[in-house]
């Protein structure tokens, strides 16, 4: 069945808090992992499927968060309305930015998106009147969903888990349609994609906007969950970490991205006990994954497992959506 993996994953997400209702690691770190999974799944549409890098994605995350923070604290907007406004602002900015920026390729695109991320971060720090500057904004009211006020870690776990499952479901659907194939075509060969009638500039714009929407959505939830936002949550390091999550889990795989995000979030928490050596171990693990499982942790392990099963005469031969981003990419220089 097409969504078998999805239902299995959903069951796990529901089961965990039932088994460990008071476990800090499961509930609090789990919620944080879920938010990152939303971000990674959205970014994966852009990076993994369409093959366009973005090193400024934390900016859209921040826009959602600050839109919710500012509109609810300063203007008393209801949370859901502020969330929609955040989506609108991030989507609009992504749309305006997409055409000029996505004309660039490779390193140039990386630099341009990085620049964008830095600019947004600087604005968050400097526009003190609106954003509270480096100190951020506190006192964000709890999210009210149609009369139900989300309170406490367990409830937040539930809301974020539901949001994450929604994001994964939407992404799985998109990818498994002509839209998703067109994105992968842009990644595989832009010339061939154009020759098949795909307006590649438009496709890139659309996927950029959609991934910005995923990020802004996560941002709004984040602001309400923390009841506090500050620019540090949306800096360059966060953008880089998001890309790492996508790559770590396995590029061009929705579950890969989600699992990469979850794994990295858990890992960082787990490594806290090593104190000074945290970043060292973190970095070494990342390098090891990239060297030994270049398709990503989850896609790579999944493939190894399937190969193993096949060797034993079990399993199916179909490898849908298996895609090595690096093998699929062709030199986009002059026309073929």
């Amino acid at each position: 069945m097409r969504l078998a993996g999805f239902y299995g994953f959903a069951a796990l997400v529901v089961l965990l808090p039932l088994l460990f209702p008071n476990d800090y690691f499961v509930i609090v770190v789990g919620a944080s992992a879920g938010l990152h999974a939303i971000l990674a799944v959205g970014l994966n549409l852009l990076v993994g499927y369409a093959g366009q890098i973005s090193l400024g994605h934390a900016a859209f995350f921040g826009m959602g968060a600050y839109a919710s923070a500012i509109l609810t604290t300063r203007f008393g907007w209801p949370g859901l309305l502020a969330l929609l406004a955040g989506l609108l602002v991030a989507g609009l900015l992504a749309w305006l930015l997409a055409r000029p920026i996505l004309r660039l390729r490779g390193h140039y695109l990386a630099m341009a998106t990085l620049g964008f991320g830095v600019i947004v971060h600087v604005i968050l720090v400097q526009a003190t009147d609106w954003t509270g500057g480096p100190d951020g904004l506190s006192g964000i009211p709890p999210l009210n969903l149609f009369g139900w006020t989300v309170e406490g870690d367990l409830q937040w776990y539930g809301v974020i888990a539901a949001a994450m499952l929604l994001a994964i479901w939407l992404s799985l659907n998109l990818v498994d349609s002509q839209i998703g194939r067109a994105l992968r075509a842009v990644h595989g060969s832009e010339f061939a994609a154009q020759m098949m009638g795909i307006d590649t500039a438009r496709a890139k714009t659309q996927v950029f906007v959609v991934s910005a929407l995923f990020a802004a959505f996560a941002g709004s939830l984040f602001a309400h969950q923390q009841a506090f936002v500050s620019p540090d949550s949306f800096n360059l390091a966060v953008s880089v970490e998001l890309v790492t999550m996508v790559v770590l889990g396995g590029i061009a795989s929705t579950f890969g991205a989600a699992c990469g995000a979850i794994a990295l979030t858990l890992l960082r928490q787990g490594l806290v006990v090593f104190e000074d050596y945290e970043m060292l171990i973190h970095g070494a693990l990342l390098m090891a994954v990239m060297i030994f499982l270049p398709q990503g942790l989850f896609v790579g392990l999944g493939q190894a497992l399937r190969t193993g099963l096949r060797r034993c005469g079990l399993g199916r031969r179909r490898d849908r959506h298996r895609s090595l981003s690096t093998a699929g990419v062709q030199d986009p220089g002059s026309p073929p």
Binding site: S177, Q178, H187, A192, A193, M195, M196, I198, G328
Partner: protein, 264 residues
């Protein structure tokens, strides 16, 4: 699509010019192509054959000339709009989507007939499921026409080279073009594969598609084409039926000047 009167050619190229820095890759190329024929474009390496294809498809913006296809001017349009006019092509350097399976490659070829929008796809509305089935069906037809049905679920990157080239043809046909441009489809193929290719090209024409074929393999060119266009240094050297071209002293001279000898 508008019907053409019998006298109007499907494609009429006039005075097409394309230069790269100092090199005139196309120095005023003019020719026409009637609907339903197979026309080959031959010429020594660097003659401008691929450049002609890239100019026809909108990958280049030719500095002068006109490209009239089915009565409409195509010069200056981007490739995706030219595709919508009914032109499809394959590439001299493979441009397969190696990140997809064979059938997914060909389903991308059906893109012009796909209607799915982002929101509908994200919510997987019933019409999206229907379209998925329909695209798969169309792709299967194109694969069957190209004898590739058995390879449908394979990853495109895992195929032998000869089959990859065939997938490009299937993908182009899935667009249901009126004109198919093939850039050296026989390059890198063995004799058996070349024979099968010849048969496939004939089959494509029989299905009503006009073919413009760039190819160095002379037995294939002479065997399958109705007409030949010879390019040399970006200009048309000769144009005519295969027998006329074979006897043309200018063509013979151009080829003998180069290192290429063809057993015609």
């Amino acid at each position: 699509m508008n019907a053409l009167s019998p006298s109007t050619p499907l494609l009429r190229v006039e005075g097409l010019e394309q230069s790269f820095g100092g090199v005139m890759a196309l120095a005023g190329v003019s020719f026409q192509l009637d609907e339903g024929v197979i026309q080959a474009v031959i010429g020594p390496n660097g003659a401008g054959k691929t450049t002609l294809f890239n100019a026809l498809c909108g990958f280049y913006r030719p500095s002068a000339g006109s490209i009239r296809f089915a009565g409409q001017e195509l010069r200056g349009l981007p490739p995706y709009r030219i595709a919508a006019h009914g032109i499809a092509r394959t590439f001299q350097n493979l441009q397969l989507f190696f990140n997809m399976t064979v059938i997914e490659n060909v389903m991308v070829g059906c893109h012009l007939r796909a209607r799915t929008r982002w929101l509908a796809a994200a919510l997987r509305l019933p019409q999206v499921r229907r379209e998925e089935r329909q695209l798969r069906q169309w792709a299967r037809e194109a694969l069957t026409l190209c004898d590739l049905a058995d390879w449908a679920e394979q990853s495109a990157g895992a195929l032998p080279y000869g089959l990859m080239k065939r997938v490009e043809i299937a993908r182009a046909l899935a667009a249901r073009p009126r004109l198919l441009l093939l850039d050296e489809p026989a390059a890198g193929l063995n004799d058996t594969e070349t024979l099968a290719l010849r048969e496939l090209i004939a089959r494509i024409r029989a299905s009503g598609v006009t073919v413009l074929l760039v190819e160095h393999h002379m037995p294939l060119v002479m065997g399958v084409s109705d007409r030949l266009l010879v390019l040399d240094y970006g200009s048309v050297l000769a144009e005519g039926a295969p027998a006329e071209i074979q006897a043309d002293p200018r063509v013979i001279a151009a080829y003998l000047g180069g290192a290429v000898h063809y057993a015609v």
